[in-house]
């Protein structure tokens, strides 16, 4: 927020809305539940570790669903695990967020056709807020997804539902294809 850098020396007064303060508090200390399901979890661990250092965003894994407000579904959700995922989700206090990381958890990934034991998308059992594509997504993508969760929290207001917040987020988001095209062009030129 830049408050700490602003060198407040006199007894100043800050005026803001309750929504802003609450959202700021929530998005600055997202605590994911510490669990991983497959190869994607390795990438999630790498993101948590010192190279990518999620703690600078106030994100660090908790050992219990009761202390977490974010579930990163990192990896292959098997049918056997699916019911456990639901139970863990139900144990999390609200407001809770779900980030689906990687193709497996988004839609079954490489097990789409012949993986008899794989749930074809974790959104069949719990509501997902942000999907991060990739197999596995690089730490940068995961951080991108986490930033999206933070943006979603910024959209929240007292009295509006999650669906409405998601809608607001969607309206605010832009289509990145233009940027990608430009980046490609400049990469070719150089």
């Amino acid at each position: 927020m830049g408050l700490l850098d602003a060198k407040i020396s006199k007894h100043n007064v800050l005026v803001t809305s309750v929504d802003n303060v609450m959202n700021w508090a929530r998005l600055s200390s997202l605590w994911p539940m510490g669990f991983g399901l497959a190869c994607c979890a390795i990438e999630m661990m790498a993101t948590n570790a010192s190279n990518y250092d999620l703690e600078r965003f106030g994100i660090f894994p908790r050992a219990s669903p009761r202390q977490s407000d974010l579930m990163i579904v990192a990896g292959t959700v098997t049918m056997k695990m699916a019911e456990r995922v639901v139970r863990l989700y139900e144990q999390m206090p609200e407001p809770r967020y779900v980030l689906s990381m990687g193709s497996c958890s988004n839609c079954g990934g490489p097990y789409w056709k012949h993986g008899y034991h794989v749930l074809k998308g974790v959104d069949r059992i719990i509501p997902v807020d942000v999907y991060v594509p990739g197999c596995p997504p690089r730490p940068e993508s995961l951080i991108g997804g986490l930033m999206k969760i933070q943006e979603l929290i910024r959209m929240e207001q007292i009295g509006i539902s999650r669906a409405e917040a998601l809608k607001k987020l969607e309206e605010k988001s832009m289509d990145p294809s233009q940027l990608i095209q430009e980046a490609r062009k400049s990469a070719k030129a150089s």
């Binding site: 049918m79 056997k80 079954g108 789409w112 056709k113 008899y116 034991h117 074809k120 069949r124």
Partner: protein, 175 residues
């Protein structure tokens, strides 16, 4: 073809395995099939599956064989012959050094193979896996439960004619 077969039978592993097989053939007679000089993994089949446990014990304890180590036990489905089977890769690890594979087959529906979990500890979980994936039972296994699939899963996923169930506990399974 004939020539390559000549050559493969000269491989030292195959010669050793053949010597192993000869010992077993002498002891168990018709219960042991002819020897297959497969260069990757020479094998024989146990033709009288009820004697498989005796053969296994003999292979482990006979001073000439000393198969101390089971490297792997896999299941196989033979739908045309209406059979299921297992393939056991055995090795005399750190002792005589030879290796051989043993195949045992049983009926496809309700087939039973005697468990060798008490002969080689490795077999315990591997037999559970074969049971989980193919559905044959292992008699006298200490703890024959599914090992990977949920306990109330329907069907045996690695059978050639397997069809996945529509729902599991109310969750849609197929794509």
């Amino acid at each position: 073809m004939g020539e390559t077969q000549e050559n493969t039978s000269q491989l030292p592993e195959v010669i050793e395995a053949k010597a192993v097989w000869a010992v077993l053939k002498e002891k168990f007679g018709d219960a042991v099939s002819e020897f297959d000089e497969n260069p990757t993994m020479p094998f024989f089949e146990v033709l009288e599956p009820e004697r498989w446990l005796d053969i296994a014990l003999f292979m482990r304890d006979s001073p000439k064989l000393r198969f101390t180590y089971m490297a792997c036990l896999s299941g196989v489905d033979y739908p045309e012959e209406k059979k299921l089977g297992i393939v056991c890769n055995l090795e005399s690890l750190g002792e005589l050094g030879h290796k051989i594979a043993v195949k045992v087959r049983c009926e496809r529906e309700g087939g039973v193979i005697s468990s060798v979990a008490r002969v080689w500890k490795t077999a315990e979980w591997h037999e559970r896996e074969a049971f989980d994936m193919y559905g044959m039972t292992f008699s006298n296994h200490p703890d024959l439960r599914r090992i990977l699939c949920p306990e109330d899963w329907e069907g045996y996923p690695l059978r050639k004619d397997y069809e996945v169930q529509e729902t599991y506990h109310g969750i849609k399974v197929p794509e």
